[in-house]
């Protein structure tokens, strides 16, 4: 995989907007089709939003790293925070009737649906989300 770009953002809510702009630029440069660019931009905003809000809990001294790598047949995006991690098994199903009208909890569901492969790993030193889109 070749590295396209890597950025570190402070844990502020404007990181989502900056990350979306970067995703737009990278995917344009790599000549990814428009519908797939939209999927990638949405997925990046979801992962970065989770990292800033839930991972780093908006703490100013914690950073979110966004890495874009590519090969001829895929784009790999890694979003990593410096939070305390979370229990993947404890994540509630946003599609359950009791959760359907809750205002949050849908980010990973959307990422999973829009990307071709998604891996989430979490420990007490942070959470890493790897998202792959085939080209």
């Amino acid at each position: 995989m070749k590295k396209a770009t890597e950025k570190k953002y402070r844990s502020r809510i404007d990181a989502v907007v900056k990350a979306e702009r970067l995703a737009g630029k990278v995917t344009k440069k790599l000549k990814i089709s428009e519908p797939e660019r939209v999927d990638i931009c949405i997925a990046v905003t979801e992962a970065v939003n989770n990292a800033v809000e839930h991972g780093n809990k908006m703490l100013n001294d914690k950073f979110v790293t966004l890495l874009f790598e590519y090969s001829d047949d895929k784009l790999r995006i890694t979003v990593e925070d410096q939070g305390e991690g979370f229990d993947l098994e404890a994540v509630e199903n946003p599609l359950s009737p009791e959760n359907l009208t809750k205002p949050n909890g849908r980010g990973l569901l959307i990422v999973d649906a829009l990307m071709d492969n998604v891996e989430v790993s979490s420990s007490t030193t942070g959470t890493k989300v790897i998202m792959i889109k085939k080209r």
Binding site: E20, I42, E46, N49, N104, R106, L109, I110
Partner: protein, 113 residues
């Protein structure tokens, strides 16, 4: 994101433009919806023709507005939903929660029926 606010009888119509992805834009939509609720507007139509896409933050604000309005006896209905937003609504099963209309006139008229 830009928000343009029209009134049709007792129905408030919000025309949104841009992308809704969280951050300051999402805050302004949240504030606009709650301003309407605080002022006693119970019937709201959100026109999404100008919104290319939204993520879960945008959905969360719409569902928050919907819940607050339904609790007060009102509703929030969607009009002119774009293809990508339709897909996101389907993924999250929120297409079963919101009433969705092909145009704003039908959405406004639905409050009279």
């Amino acid at each position: 994101m830009q928000i343009q606010h029209d009134v049709s009888g007792e129905v408030a119509v919000l025309h949104l433009q841009g992308k809704i992805m969280g951050g300051p834009d999402a805050t302004s939509l949240h504030e606009k919806l709650h301003e309407l609720i605080d002022n006693g507007t119970l019937s709201v139509v959100v026109d999404l023709e100008g919104v290319a896409w939204m993520n879960s933050s945008g959905l969360g604000i719409l569902i928050g507005g919907l819940s607050a309005l339904r609790k007060s006896g009102g509703d929030l209905r969607l009009a002119r939903v774009t293809e990508k937003i339709e897909e996101v609504l389907r993924i999250t099963k929120l297409d079963r929660v919101f009433d969705i209309y092909g145009n704003t006139d039908d959405a406004v008229a639905s409050y009279g029926s």
